[in-house]
Amino acid sequence: MSLSVDFKLSLPDFDLKVAFDAPTGITALSGHSGAGKTTLINVLAGLVTPDYGHIETDGRVLFSSALKVNLKPEQRHIGYIFQDARLFPHLTVLQNLKCGRWFRRLPMNPSTIEEIVTLLGIDHVLSRRPSQLSGGEKQRVAIGRALLSEPEVILADEPLSSLDSDRKKEILPYFEMLRDQMSIPIVYVSHDADEVTRLATTHFELAHGKIHSQSSDS
């Protein structure tokens, strides 16, 4: 599977004009703050509409100005992992995990849910509320929630940057696991060079609204 992206979006300060392919594995996007990284993945998620261009995953068109296609965020099957986990505070951890499957009417196989819960080591917090979790636990639940919605692409926007270094070490292996075990494209935004070196299969740098290819590190 792969995600191909080619669009232009005018922003107040500069134009974001990018074209790249994100194959299976982790495509790291780095760049200074204000380079438009978050805007870029919001475009992929369908939260921001570009001026023109074409975005598709293996023949499924998500956005195309030529074909007049612009799928809504809920139709794109994209799992989005945010810097702040953004768990729903009024739902338990288990309800947070299940809600994507419920929204998409996917079968609630206990085994599927249990597999991911065990994988992420969050079986002991299922009945808790997000406010009772540590930063690392929150981010693991957020990863699980995105995975259980069975996405065709995963977007991660600086998922480790709000965690301290111990918590980072706790979460990093999970992204390595996603990279190595799931055969879907993962677009991973980070300004941390170590993180990028460790995780990236493909690496792009975003500067002045343009994409520059970097040598692959792994």
């Binding site: 998620a45 369908g46 939260l47 809504k72 965020p73 809920e74 794109r76 099957h77 994209i78 799992g79 989005y80 945010f82 953004r86 729903f88 505070p89 009024h90 338990t92 809600c99 994507g100 929204f103 998409r104 808790r128 509320r129 997000p130 406010s131 009772q132 929630r145 995105a146 919605s149």
Partner: protein, 231 residues
């Protein structure tokens, strides 16, 4: 209570509670929709809608009552249409509930709107990325998170509805047992010799009911907030 309050006083209090209850229940769905729309959407005519909702707060109540009478009276455009369906609300307790609902609506909408505005838009976006369409986002994310404001708005509206006087007396008059609510009863007792004592009792009751509603809304809103946020 029967020893302390005379039958006409009890009648007025119970009628006020009934009027306020129905005024709150029936206007709540509209309050939620209008509060949400004002909090989340930009559209032409938004200021007009906002102004219209808040108008009863600023207009003299007698003017609101007069407009209601002209619209919903048996000769009015809406009133005559309703009459053909066998519904008469002018000079009936349901008319009192309508007047109370309209006068209380700005308070209800304001509280609900503020709490929808306090719901993090990013949580709503997150839900959409997980596959929720707009209506699911509203039901599963926005409304539960705005619940403290919905509770506060409802109780404030209820308290306001119990005390509504000007628009009510203009629209549905002051008929014992039908439209003589607590404030109308106080007014009537003040007009008759020896009625002062009854008026005092109802005034004390009105203060107690209003104060209780205010304290209850504060307390409930806090409770609901705690439950919603899971602390």
């Amino acid at each position: 209570m029967t020893d302390w309050l005379s039958p006409p006083e009890i009648e007025a209090v119970l009628l006020s509670l009934k009027v306020a209850f129905w005024a709150t229940i029936v206007s709540l769905p509209f309050g939620i929709v209008v509060g949400f729309v004002l909090a989340r959407y930009e559209f032409p005519g938004k200021h007009l809608l906002n102004g219209l909702v808040h108008l009863p707060l600023i207009l003299p109540p007698v003017v609101t009552g007069f407009i209601l009478l002209k619209l919903f009276g048996t000769q009015g455009p809406i009133g005559s249409a309703l009459e053909e369906l066998g519904i008469v609300i002018a000079f009936s307790w349901s008319g009192a509930a309508l007047a109370a609902a309209i006068m209380a609506f700005p308070l209800m909408v304001r509280a609900i709107r503020l709490s929808f505005e306090a719901v993090d838009v990013r949580l709503e976006e997150t839900a959409r990325s997980l596959g929720a369409h707009r209506f699911q986002v509203f039901c599963i994310i926005s409304l539960p998170l705005a619940l403290p404001g919905v509770v506060t708005g409802s109780i404030l509206a209820f308290a306001k509805a119990i005390g509504e006087f000007g628009a009510t007396i203009t629209f549905v008059s002051n008929i014992p047992g039908e439209t003589r609510t607590l404030p109308s009863a106080v007014y009537s007792f003040m007009q008759v010799p020896g009625g002062e004592e009854s008026a005092y009792r109802l005034v004390i009751l009105a203060v107690i009911v209003s104060m209780t509603a205010l304290l209850l809304s504060e307390w409930l809103a806090k409770r609901v907030k705690t439950v919603v946020e899971g602390r």
